[in-house]
């Protein structure tokens, strides 16, 4: 058992991740030496993970408002109006460090945490995504991490009962020592029944809900804010174990509780559990909170106040209860087999007071715990702009071979091995499951509406040019939603970077956020929630900058939704948004990296006005019902996009390449803002005319049909061979 009367030594302060000047600040706030428990509370509130002390300054620059935005950043999740009294509630959050230490449980509890964020607000989860990044395939740890993380994401989400409709998987040596697990969840709620964390009313009961408290993850939030070193094993005892069964019961109990009118305020216990949730509820409501720890349901003997306040046991919530509803509320929790305990009350003194075994072990000013958290404008070095590839630097290779090689490469191979371990259709509303441009889930109870979900970032672009990379991540997400016919509504961001105390990393971070902000503003795609994960670094080597964007779009009539599979033979294929003469940009392309082993050049710039103009035009075509298949062009360019459409349908295609162009950049260039689309042949000329009138470059490039993909004189590969290459890598890699 940990006592509360440890002497507060400089070593103890340092071991809590607090810098000397931060400790000075604590002394100023308390006016005395803090108790051991108080020190723990400060360290939890003021670590990077909870206080956003390095990132706050930059997060404030993001656009967070929009016509449809009901709730932006600052609550458990963002809320966006989708009409008819419904709203979508969503957020993305990282569980990187825990997943590296124990991949199954780390990923599982990551999924559990984000689901809780969504249903704490009164929404029933309807979709999940997971954005994963691992080290190079040959690294001895990678296979184990992939297997564990994927099983953990599925293990939790499947048992909880949410369809996983999208995600990403990338491999790169820069993630060898730090994998990334970013979990996204979205739920549906009524706009007039959103629940918030702001406590209201003095002297009201504070209720503990859900599972019992153990010593899980004591110090976990602190761990998430520390770099790894070779002594990582010592950090292991803090691993949390997820219990999706309890979470499913908690979901049902919470939704019943909310419907009963018993809830004044509610907050899930995430990082630094009881501490963060109680302080947040009180501080937001301008109220003090008093907790009596003897009433906290615990599953272990002799837990100290320090441990209870810092425990990260999962599947727990804190709420302020309307007192006259106590019995009804308790009955609901008993029915679901969950704990329900009044553990404290709201007060009017703005203090955060903790009583344990009759002794006051903490008494702190509640507002200052959050408001006075340090905030840094960390020094940063402006990232150097990359040198663009020379125009005549076009390395050649056999085209058919290159396509097959790329389709069978770790980053481009089919993700079927991953997503078939996820329940992608539970709920009966999944209209598009993983494998297309975006996951689509119909809005239950509405005859025609559906929501589209996509998660995107291209870390190699961000590494070469964080500003352009940040823009591109937003643009690609927006484009993927658009490609289904959805109107992109809003996004969440999960910013994964290295150590912010290094000026180069801080420079990357700031530039990426500026790029994200610019793209979101131009595209009308506000950020309504998000999460920052810093210190993703091992032995001084940071990950690739990875600002993941999770976007949500609205489809008014899903019967007109577009998919990537060719619909039939004999249809005309159109290419939209390419520059005159076709794609040109090979810098930072997959072709350059995976065929020639080169990671040079500048990433493709994103012209946001062009992006928007082309996207809006595509959406109109889809909604008119003339587009029979649509796919955006991204990694691997035109060639891979066309191959993916063929593989998805089993139908071949014959494309004609323009005379006199070098087929390599035309086929593999990654110029942004482009789509492939098919129409019945008689519509083609009219559509090309409309595109021209709208100022959009578009061209007829071929026809669907047969069982071979023919790219002019350059290549001819059967769809069967394409599919075999594409499907083979993941299963055979995982077999070992």
């Amino acid at each position: 058992m940990i006592r509360n009367d440890f002497p507060i030594t400089p070593e103890l302060v340092a071991s809590h991740g607090l810098k000397p000047d931060e400790y000075e600040r604590i002394l100023r706030i308390t006016g005395r030496e803090p108790s051991f428990t108080e020190l723990g509370i400060f360290s939890a509130m003021w670590n990077e993970h909870c206080s956003y002390k390095s990132s706050k300054r930059w997060l404030r620059t993001l656009p967070t408002k929009g016509e449809r935005v009901i709730q932006g950043p600052g609550e458990n999740a963002g809320v966006v109006d989708i009409g008819d009294g419904d709203c979508v509630v969503f957020k993305m959050e990282s569980h990187n460090h825990p997943s590296y230490i124990e991949p199954y449980q780390g990923a599982a509890t990551g999924v559990g945490g984000i689901l809780r964020d969504v249903f704490t607000m009164g929404a029933r989860p309807i979709a999940a995504m997971n954005s994963l990044r691992f080290g190079e395939p040959d690294h001895p740890k990678t296979r184990h991490l992939v297997a564990g993380v994927v099983a953990g994401v599925g293990g939790y989400g499947n048992a909880f009962g949410v369809p996983t409709v999208g995600g990403e998987v990338n491999f790169d040596a820069r993630y060898n020592g730090n994998c990334l697990v970013n979990a996204f969840a979205a739920g549906l709620a009524k706009t007039d029944a959103i629940f918030l964390s702001e406590a209201k009313g003095v002297g009201l009961p504070v209720v503990y809900l859900g599972a019992k408290t153990g010593r899980d993850g004591v110090g976990g939030a602190t761990m998430a804010s520390a770099e790894f070193d070779d002594k990582i094993d010592e950090k292991r005892p803090t691993v949390q174990v997820g219990d999706p069964f309890t979470e499913k019961c908690l979901l049902e109990a919470c939704l019943e509780l909310m419907a009963s009118g018993a809830v004044i305020a509610i907050q899930d216990m995430g990082a630094a559990g009881l501490t963060c949730s109680a302080v947040e509820m009180g501080a937001k409501g301008n109220l003090g909170i008093e907790l009596d720890l003897d009433r906290v349901p615990v599953r272990e003997d002799a837990m100290s106040a320090y441990e209870m306040m810092l425990s990260e046991s999962q599947e727990r919530m804190l709420m302020v209860l309307r007192p006259e509803k106590e019995e009804e509320a308790q009955a609901i929790f008993r029915k679901w087999g969950l704990d329900f305990a009044i553990v404290g009350k709201t007060t009017d003194d703005l203090r955060f007071r903790i009583i344990h075994q009759g002794v006051e072990v903490a008494n702190l000013p509640i507002k200052e715990l959050g408001d006075e958290a340090p905030e840094y404008d960390r020094p940063r070095i402006e990232p150097k702009k990359p040198v663009p590839l020379a125009a005549d630097d076009v390395p050649q290779a056999d085209i058919a071979e290159s396509i097959l090689k790329l389709l069978a490469s770790p980053d481009q191979a089919s993700r079927r091995w991953v997503y078939e371990q996820y329940d992608t259709m539970i709920g009966g509303n999944s209209l598009q499951r993983p494998g297309g441009d975006a996951g689509v889930v119909r809005v239950e109870g509405h005859p025609t509406k559906a929501l589209a979900f996509s998660s995107d970032v291209t870390p190699r672009y961000c590494e070469a040019d964080p500003f352009e990379g940040g823009k591109q991540a937003v643009a690609e997400c927006w484009r993927n939603l658009t490609a289904t016919g959805a109107e992109p509504l809003a996004a969440t961001d999960n910013l994964n970077f290295g150590n912010p105390e290094r000026p180069e990393i801080m420079g990357q971070f700031a530039a990426a956020i500026q790029g994200i902000g610019e793209a979101c503003r131009e595209l009308g795609f506000p950020i309504v929630s998000g999460n920052v994960s810093l210190y993703n670094e091992t032995n001084g080597r940071g990950i690739l900058p990875t600002p993941t964007i999770g976007g949500v779009g609205l489809i008014p009539d899903w019967s007109k939704m577009a998919r990537i599979a060719f619909a039939a033979e004999g249809q005309t294929i159109l290419h939209f948004g390419a520059p005159e003469g076709g794609a040109k940009h090979l810098g930072q392309s997959i072709y350059l990296r995976d065929i020639h082993g080169r990671a040079d050049g500048a990433p493709p710039p994103v012209d946001l006005a062009h992006e928007k103009r082309v996207g809006d035009f595509m959406r109109t075509l889809i909604r008119e019902g003339v587009a029979t298949a649509v796919h955006d062009i991204s990694d691997g360019g035109f060639a891979l996009a066309l191959a993916e459409m063929a593989m998805a349908s089993g139908i071949g295609a014959k494309a004609t390449l323009p005379d006199g162009v070098d087929p390599i950049p035309y086929l593999f260039g990654e110029d942004q803002g482009r789509y492939l689309l098919t129409v019945v042949s008689t519509d083609a000329d009219r559509i090309l005319g409309e595109a021209k009138a709208a100022g959009i470059l578009a061209e007829k490039i071929g026809e669907t049909g047969g069982d071979v993909l023919v790219l002019g004189e350059s290549a001819s590969v059967s769809v069967k061979d394409l599919t075999a290459a594409h499907e083979s890598w993941f299963p055979s890699y995982m077999k070992g």
Binding site: A151, N158, F245, T424, G428, W558
Partner: protein
Amino acid sequence: MKSAVVLLPGLNRDRDMIAALTKVSGQAPKTVWQTETELPDVDLIVIPGGFSFGDYLRCGAIAARMPVMRAVADAAKRGVMVMGVCNGFQILLEAGLLPGALMRNSSLQFVCREVKLQVANANTAFTRAYAPNEVIRCPVAHHDGNFFADPDTLARLEGEGRVAFRYAEDTNPNGSLNDIAGILNEDGNVLGLMPHPENLIEAAHGGSDGRGIFESALRVAA
């Protein structure tokens, strides 16, 4: 057709099943909570899929011992149609209403994909809307669907035409003996099956091959 859906904590395809029963029969099913000891008067009782009690211990084991299951067993004895889908199938096995066991998938992984099912016996309360040996599409989503029974039990199931559905065209996703996807009790009024017909009943699902099971029951009830 009057129907009821059994609810146990941790089941999670109850909403899918309720939607399917409502859409196919035109009548919303009643729901019955795990602690109830009497069932409403219905033609069909369905135990839906999910992870009852987390599937901790063994899939369906704890659920099978909850009070409502005694009532289900009594109803089955009286000849009421009972269908368990996925976790519901596992619960019926654990409750002793069907023979055999469902083991971990041979891949040891959860699997969610579409498979092909052959209607191995089209002359049952749950299959008569299909043609004999008809092959239909149907999704699966499970971790423990690997059907096992000792040789005598297996021979009886086969000999008595109690294999209702079989995975067809090399799509067995879990290693089940004899490609078994669904079986019946001796009287033919209890069906357990691993795949999810409730997730393939309308255009939004990309097909309606799963409807036949509900329509068969509907014909019996009429």
